[in-house]
Symmetry: C2
Subunit: 452 residues, 2 copies
């Protein structure tokens, strides 16, 4: 006998949680499709030489390699031929480069699949987790206008998920780098300074300031202060975002380019009707120190800042330089849904989802079986999800089962009701009961299901 168990670092759900999770996936997908993004799925494994174009880095150490029994027996020196994807960006780059001549650009794709990382086992760290990504990829160029659609999608997704108030934080790498330039911090040192400023939340202002003016950096005290003040800038509302940008004063051409794009983006968000409570500028946000080159986005739940960013991304210059000579600039975001679901469940925000089953057709005795089967089929044809009780049990047990399973309605056809061509319906959500003619049952259940 072997103990049934899953490997550490995966999230496996019981049906009611799986239903809640599936609803979140469906909501995200629906919203991505609303904005005209097209579905892509890629294989779980890629050829190792294709996946690991940048070898030796942190990423590679976390990679899972895949070998068939045959390959394993043969052995060999090099890396195994296959490896599991560790994100959806490298597969996207490979996909776009491979199918470059079959795709229309700008190419708007969404992808919602699991990715794999050999993380150390730790609560809340996952070795297998869902990412839900959108990206728009241009050929040669991609207008900054596409950057403005992204926060509108984020806003629509989290409105639809209905998990509380949230804020989309906006920044621009050119604004950041231009500001550093203006303070006399050049290209190579910008990354190091950014890395320090990224620790503000963890280390606090005093510690970061001490590092910036100390050995290694040796920034002037007033420069360090200006950097910290810049990092503190947050807006509250649309007009405040614009005036905070104005208040930054004149800057280098790069700085002005970033500021102009941010202003333009804010205008587009207003045109799209994104509520101004949903977005704000936050000049401390950097995201991925060398990947992003323009707009950057993070999203936090207002009531759960400790969860950190639940949807992040930005603009990049070239998606697939390892695979094609074509220049493919893009902009995109990613939602790490497994981690988000885990945190929401911890916070009690996704518990007790209703079943995907709308109604249980009860069975009181064997004589009623064929009728119950036929009735169930009629309800299904009307669009209801129905389970039929196939073996008679005490009614109390059937009701108890439905209640525990989160099924909203139990359809009961006792002798009296049957004589009237009717059925009794227990509404377990409200603890009520009503009688309805069999002919009217499907419509009534559809109506009741709509009620909050």
């Amino acid at each position: 006998m072997i103990k049934p168990r899953t490997p550490p670092g995966v999230m496996e759900l019981l049906p009611r949680d799986q239903i809640a999770f599936q609803r979140m996936l469906d909501t995200i997908r629906l919203t991505f499709e609303r904005f005209g993004f097209l579905p892509v799925e890629t294989p779980v494994f890629e050829l190792s030489d294709v996946l690991l174009t940048k070898s030796g880095g942190e990423t590679e150490r976390q990679v899972y390699f895949v070998q068939s029994t045959g390959a394993l027996e043969k052995g060999g020196d090099g890396l195994p031929e296959l490896a599991l994807r560790f994100d959806l960006t490298v597969p996207l780059a490979r996909y776009v480069a491979e199918h470059e001549h079959e795709l229309a650009f700008p190419f708007r794709r969404y992808q919602m699949q699991r990715v794999y990382r050999g993380e150390r086992a730790q609560r809340g760290r996952f070795r297998e987790f869902y990412q839900c990504d959108i990206d728009v990829i241009g050929k040669d160029a991609l207008s900054p206008r596409f950057d403005a659609e992204i926060p509108a999608v984020i806003a629509a997704v989290f409105e639809a998920l209905d998990i509380g108030e949230f804020t989309i934080w906006l920044n621009h790498r050119k604004l950041l780098r231009g500001f550093f330039e203006g303070q006399g911090i050049d290209g190579d040192r910008q990354l190091a300074v950014l890395r320090e400023l990224d620790k503000l939340d963890k280390r606090g202002e005093d510690a970061v300031r001490a590092t910036l003016v100390g050995e290694g950096f040796e920034l002037a005290a007033d420069v360090a202060d200006r950097l910290l003040a810049f990092s503190r800038v947050r807006s509250s509302g649309h007009d405040d975002a614009l005036s905070k940008l104005d208040a930054l004063g004149a800057g280098t051409p790069l700085f002005e380019e970033g500021r102009a794009e941010l202003r333009e983006l804010l205008g587009r968000l207003r045109a799209m009707g994104v509520p101004e409570s949903r977005y704000a500028i936050n000049l401390s946000i950097a995201r991925g120190l060398d990947y992003y080159t323009g707009m950057v986005y993070e999203t936090t739940l207002d009531a759960y800042p400790q969860i950190g960013s639940i949807c992040s991304g930005g603009r990049y210059d070239n998606l697939a330089s390892h695979y094609t000579k074509s220049k493919l600039p893009g902009v995109g975001i990613s939602i790490g849904l497994t981690r988000l679901f885990f945190q929401l469940r911890d916070a009690g925000l996704v518990a007790g989802a209703a079943s995907s089953v709308d109604a249980l057709v009860a069975l009181l005795d064997d004589a009623g079986l064929d009728h119950a089967l036929a009735l169930s089929q009629r309800l299904r044809e009307a669009g209801l999800n129905v389970e039929t009780q196939l073996e008679p049990r005490k009614l109390a047990r059937q009701l108890q089962y439905a209640d525990r399973a989160g099924i909203g309605f139990v359809v009961i056809r006792g002798e009296d009701e049957a004589a009237r061509g009717a059925v009794a319906v227990k509404d377990l959500r409200r603890g009520e009961q009503f009688e309805v003619s069999e002919a009217g049952l499907a419509q009534r259940l559809l109506d009741e299901r709509q009620k909050p």
Copy 2:
């Protein structure tokens, strides 16, 4: 520069095919949920010792093992710790045994995920493919009534997929084994005889008869003839199925048990309103020589018999004997969707799916951008999937893009229409154009989308 490419044996789709594939997945899921099945997802990898309970078999040689970079470097003698699932049945067994005390029985689950097999590379053979499974698992016992729901689900799935006429073939392992018993063929030889009868399609009757009466089997000629006649039995319509069963004559208790269950199942299918053209008995069907113990099912497309069974399964005695002492009988089916999609596409049955994007909001000049963005958002709120043209291009190119992408409608707001508070809509499916007020646009598009 690395050549972007996928490993052999995977099916990766361009967006329009992916949309068609996703619609099939959605249809199957919706139908599974209609019948009250609950979603389960399991991790792509299982612990090797859990997955490979029966070691050394054909299955194990096709398994993909998974190792992180760290584990790979460490090496070691035994099998790697993790392996990719090769079907959804072993993960189901592990899941049910692991969560036995948290699940309600009979447990009805569906699972639609990819599975992995180290197949030899060959056209139409996949190393990664989707399986769409349903199973009902009982604790200690499971009424044969559950077996009758399964063909009703199969019928509903393939009606909804709308890929042509199909037939669900029914047989019963007890009828088969009971018939063999009656011919004096005992337990051990039954499997060998079944294996020969399974080759009827490939080898033909004469060759199989020759084997059965030849060395090794040495069956009497009349016994061989009766076996072949039995294997030839196919019904056409409900009453014919019943009379073909009657015509088999009396048999052993096991035979009679199988026949009674088949008769009962036919009655239940009629009660559920499954059209009689959709099911037939076929006494040649055996399915998995040692796994199934009761009802067995296969499904074929009437116009494409060469595709073989597109949905198969049956009743089994005990799901998870490797993981738990509890007896868990069940019944289930599986659809190999990747292979089916591949075959349907080859046959030209799933080509040219419409886009998931309903409408493109065109852009004639930069001045119209904010209006186009706002209009797009209003259409989205009404439930339409909308792409906004963000950079002005020649209208002909915008129309050409939409047409190639399979987008049905292009919304154009020229000066004249704008002056009237209206837009022009190109209906690319019909090659027509109409004008509609902006206020009425969303409803009109929703109505038009409904039209076939």
